[in-house]
């Protein structure tokens, strides 16, 4: 029998509004997605100069992880190799692949090339937060809560991780949708059980 885990925090983006634990914390509907991400970075005063060098998928992941963890995560509770990351999306790194392909006819951009894999966003989050735990990036046509709960529960039950950031991080041109969850063994204020039904409820609410 699998030990119960809890969703202790969530972050989502819908229609260029950022929600933390379902409460709106930032919005800007006028700017294109790249400008929206830069504005949010400045708004939350994150101060990580490498942010501007990242592709939009990595900016999205790093930004939302930072905001979600700020008030909800005590890094000191875990060793670096005890926090894992499991993400999925539909478009992999296609947003950056297209931009990189456009540079190839002239001089290929090394800075774009390094982001032509979807799991680079996980690497950027790990570098920023000193996470060294198990991680994986999956490409699915749509968000699959059954797979996500099964995979993350298995990591917990195998004692591979003690905390996990997991969810859906989709970005292609101006289309962006994101739901990130912080999953831990211990309960916190307003936490809910990490079950397929609860994940689907959060995902459906957050994505309208």
């Amino acid at each position: 029998m699998s030990e119960e885990k809890c969703i202790t925090a969530s972050c989502s983006i819908r229609d260029q509004v950022i929600y933390i634990n379902s409460k709106p914390v930032f919005q800007n509907k006028e700017l294109p997605i790249s400008g929206f991400l830069d504005k949010a970075y400045q708004h939350f005063d994150i101060r990580y100069p490498k942010f501007y060098k990242m592709d939009n998928l990595s900016k999205l992941g790093l930004l939302c992880t930072d905001i979600m963890l700020k008030e909800n995560f005590k890094a000191g509770n875990y060793q670096p190799d005890e926090t894992g990351i499991v993400l999925m999306n539909a478009s992999a790194s296609l947003d950056t692949d297209i931009k990189y392909y456009k540079t190839v006819s002239d001089i290929a951009s090394p800075a774009l090339f390094v982001y032509t894999l979807p799991n680079i966003v996980i690497g950027e989050i790990c570098i920023r937060n000193n996470f060294k735990g198990e991680n994986a990036f999956f490409v699915f046509k749509q968000f699959d809560a059954t797979f996500m709960t099964g995979y993350v529960n298995n990591l917990f039950d195998s004692n591979v991780i003690q905390a996990c950031i997991c969810g859906w991080i989709e970005l292609l041109e101006e289309n962006c949708s994101l739901v990130l969850l912080l999953v831990e063994k211990q309960k916190a204020n307003h936490s809910i059980t990490f079950t397929e039904d609860n994940i689907n409820k959060i995902y459906r609410v957050e994505n309208g």
Partner: protein, 83 residues
Amino acid sequence: MADLKLQIIAQLNLKDLKPEDIGDDQPLFIEGLGLDSIDALELIVLLQQEYKIKLSNAEDGPKVFQSVRTMAAYITAHQPQKE
């Protein structure tokens, strides 16, 4: 050198910096501006795109990209003559 600083900021997406934040002799890598190996490749692209200069010997890189001043000197010495 002011133009070169602007080009470096644009090429490397150093949006937190203004040209006046970069000293003429400030090291570009590690303890200076903190650039990394991907930035070094982007600086090579900058030389090709903006000045039509190909860095023929990779071993020259550390000297050429030591600072904005050394980059400017390399560009001046290697820029193709206009007819």
